[in-house]
Amino acid sequence: MSGHSFQYSRAANADDARNQASKPGVTFLAGGTDLLQLWKSGALAPAAIVDISRLPLDDVEFSDGELSLGALARLSDVAAHRDVTRYHPLIAEAILASASGQIRNMATVGGNLLQRTRCPYFRNEQLACNKRNPGSGCGAQSGESRQAALFGTSPLCVATHASDLAVALVALGAEVEVFGSEGARRFSLRDLYRLPGETPEHETNLMQGELIAAVHVPNAARFAACSTYLKIRDRASFDFAVVSVAAALQIENGKIVEARLAAGGVAPLPWRLDRAEAALTGSVLDGPTIAAVGDLAVEHARPLADNRFKVALLRNAVMRALQGLESRT
C-alpha cells in the first residue's frame, strides 16, 4: 500500500453516489488514473472513495446536432466513436494527443475534466503549495516555474490545468450537466472552473457530492472541416502539453464567419482567446491575419522567470495551428 488508507464503497445509483459523497473527505472514483497518482504522491488523502465507475453514465449520443458524452465514457471510446470523428474531429484529436493507449482505456470524460494540475509543487507533499495546503505558500513562483501559467494566475497560485479534452470542449462551447442535492443543473464548461484568486484550493464550482453526469457539445459540425488541435510537448507522445491550441473556424465565401480559439498549458483553466477570435471573425485567413492573431493571443501574458519561452511558444503555436487550417482551405 502506498499512502494513507481509505475506505471503499460502490455507488448503487447516482443518488446514492451523491449522498455518500456529501461528506467532506469523500471522493469519487471513476477511471482512477489521476486519483491513484494523487493518493500515492500524498497530494490527496481521502477518508473514503465512492466508486461510481459502474453507473450507467457512459453513453455517447448524437442527436439533433448535439453531441452528449456520458461522464463515465472512456476516452478511447469517445475518440473512436463514429459521430465524434465525423462531426467533432477536434475532440478525437485532443483525446488521441492525451496520455497513452492504456490510460485512455481507463480514464473517463468527467475524470479528465476534473484532473488536478501537474504542477510539481502540488504533486509533492514535501513542497509548499497553497492549492494542496492552503497558507503554505507557492513554491513555483520563487522556484521552478517552467510549467507555470501565463494568464489567470494569482499571487497564491500559478498552476496550469492539464486536460487536452477540456481545451477542445471549451473551444466548442461545451456545457456540463451536473447532478447534486438540488437536482440537475447545466452550465458552460468554462464556468466549471475557477481562477485561483485568494482560494486556489477551490478549483471548480461543483458543490461537495455534486457529480458530473454528462458533457453536451452544441451543434458544432460547422467546424468539422476546419479544426485542429496542436499540442506542443517535451517529447513526441505520452506527455502533458507545454502549450496546446484548439482552433476551429467556419469559413464561407473565403471569409471567416465564426472562430474558436482556446489554449492549454497556459492558464489555471482552459483559456479561450476571445480577442484573437474576434480578430479572426470577418477576416480572410491569410498571413497578415494570422500574424496579428498570434500577437493578440499573448498580449496579456504575465510570465515568470522560467516560463518566458511560453509566450513565444503560444504565439507560434496559434500561428502554426492557423497556418495548418489555411493550407486546408
Binding site: M1, R10, S41, I49, A99, I103, M106
Partner: protein, 156 residues
Amino acid sequence: MAPSSSVPISLTINGQVLESSVSACDTLLDVLRDTLGMTGTKKGCDMGACGACTVLLGGRRIKSCLALAASCDGSSITTIEGIGGADKLHPLQAAFIRHDALQCGYCTPGQIMSALALLEERPANLEAIREGMSGNLCRCGAYPNIVAAIAEVAGL
C-alpha cells in the same frame, strides 16, 4: 454498499476464477503480485508512467498500478502468464526473441501485453506502432527492435 476497508472480490484471471478479499487500497497490480503470487506483471514506476504493469482488463490494455482492485470486481483479466510460456510461446513472445527486443527484460511483459492489445487496433504503419506503444518505456532502449517485433506480427 457500506464503506469498508476490506472488499471481497471475484476476478477471472487467465480464465480461472479467483475469489479473494482485498484491502480497499490495494491496486490490481499489488493483488496480482503479492496476494496471488503472479509476478509476471512488473511494478516499475507505480504511477502509470512506465507501462511495466500493463494487463488486459476485459480485453483492453490498462495500467494495473492505477486500477483499484476492488473496482475490478467481476472483471476478466489477462496477464503475461495467460498468453504463452516457454513450451508454447505466443507469436509476439517469439518475435521479441527473434528481434532481440529486450535487454534486461523487466519491461517486456508489459510491452507484450500492450502490443497484444495494439495489434487488435490494427496499426497501419511503423509510426502507428511507435505512437501506440508510447505508454511503455524501455530503459535499455530496445525500442527499434520492439517496433520491429510488433511490426512482424502485425504483418507490416
